[in-house]
Amino acid sequence: MNGAGDIESIFRNFTVITFIQVGLIVACAWLLAVVSQRVLTWLADRFSGRLRLNLLAAVPVLRLLIIALALALIIPRVIRPTFENLVALLGALGLALGFAFKDYISSLIAGVVTLYEMPYRPGDWIEVNGAYGEVKTINMRATEIITPDDTVVVIPHLKLWDQLIFNSNDGGPNLLCVADFYLHPDHDAMLVKHALYDVALTSTFLQLGQPINVIVLEKPWGTHYRLKAYPIDPRQQFDFLTDLTVRGKAALTSLGIEFAATPASVQFTS
């Protein structure tokens, strides 16, 4: 076998024109991807609810289409696009890159799977490996989330293969919030349940079309109330929880309800 001859038969003769064409395609694809990302993000910021989430979700899909189109334009300019040539080139590339950049390639593939399976989309609130935040961008290799403390966490798509991914709103505007109240066991539970229900119902952050639930759990140290409701916008979840907690405490205090005094040895689990 003549290896040099094989490679020559795969690749076309490179000319300056070919280089310029490939360079222009790469530049245009990059420009298009950047512009589409900025425009869609800018538009999404002007809307709310499902339209905002759909616009954000379109960003990575559009980028993938642009990259696929760019590759489709570049490959015939670089190699002779016969079946044998493609198999030989991709096989060699796969072998080389597979060893050298195993994790990187795995992340890229997981990135494509992410776009297909959509375990999370921009605008979703997810938790991966203890990091919780809003998905800002889905790049080729990793996803960026912003935590409530305004910290960017970069999560490689690789995590998709073997980690649990918790998605709080799954592409929609409904994100359940839970406010906890720990009370002394000696009280009228029905009164407290109604009071907490009204606390949620009168919150200005509440999404009124969604259900409100009050879960009561008896514990060795007292009674645990879980007030569950949905905010209008997932981004308001912390303001909503604060509002529920502040007004819930005020309502319970006005009813003369005593809060639980927990022994130091007791460990809480929510």
Binding site: V199, L201, T204, L208, Q236, D239, R247, A250, A251, S254
Partner: protein
Amino acid sequence: MTSTTSIDANTQPIWEYVSIAGYEVPSTPVRQTVKQRLAILHHILGRVDSPAEDPLKKTDELKALPEQMLDLVAPLPNWLSAAEALDLKLADWLEQEKSHPCIILLVGPPYGGHTEILRAWAEQKAWPTLNPPSPEQILAGDDAWLAGLGNTGGSWVFPNLERAYLRHAAGLNQVRTFLDRAYAGDLGRGIIGCDSWAWAFLQHVWHGRLPIVWALEAFDQTRLTHHFQHLAVTADGRQPVFCQSDTGHYVLPPPDADQKTYESSSFLQLLAAHSRGILGVAWAVWRASLRKEQEGKQAAEALAENHIDPRRTIWVTPWDQLNKPVVPGDVRHDEAVVLHTLLLHSGLSLELMRQLLPMSLNRIAETVARLQEAGIVAQDGATWRVAPLGYPPARQFLQEVGYLTDQF
């Protein structure tokens, strides 16, 4: 935006009560919807629409009508007529010896006149009117108001249910008890009036089902035409002529009986859709659109061509040139919350807003001031309300950001 219309005797009543499910909001003409979408696109692209060329009346040739003249050509809606329509609708129910159901609910959007109509009806029929509890009574859970409800002699009217609750953890129990008692017939037979926003919220608070819920039918183009034309009169007692200032087309049909066909403007169709058929809102926009000629600026020839008598003519600003308030583009959560709370309670004082909202008094005052500057809210004594001109954009804004809205 124009069509040729004939004057026909229209048998459709101006005031009509319908079941709430049968209420139909006037629709926006497709052409206007397309124009609005294009205007949004132009706004995003930073382009400014140029005004139409060569209008019949230029803006600087016209001036706003003085208040006294406005009161003549566009007087306040006559709610007494609506009370008569309500009486007609209630006739069967009133005739029953033991009315079933024992309560009837009339729901109306802001500026739809439900309180005024019910008060007028109660006065005509000499039915006692229940006063709402004070905000202090509501928040303190004072039962004195509820205890006093049984002394009405069996028939009563409560024209403003929206004043019987506050969106506060302690502000819902009284309205629940009131509706429970009224529904069970403990209070005798009664008619309750409620603002549509408050009713949308109260349906999440009280889960009973009222069998009869009526609403005043929306004022579509035909109703607005009849209403405005019926009430308008000039200082010398004649009927004025309303023409669109850029084209000269008639906005209301000309009063001359011999003029059977005429070029009509679609202004009132757009007004009906914009105001969602709410008479009070349409009335406010109508008044804001009326202009009269600057002295000595009458272009007699142009008017003669259009068969227009300049002495009786009121000029109506073209719809696209009308200065309509818009919710500021950089609004935040604060603005949405304040607007929603004002609508749910049909207006509130700053102090009450402080008790209901998770915001400081300063922040509320700043937000209200921003909204006032944009023309969305207005002050009425100590009470802040969404202004009639600001209601359509406020409603649209709240709907877009996902807040609960009324069904009108």
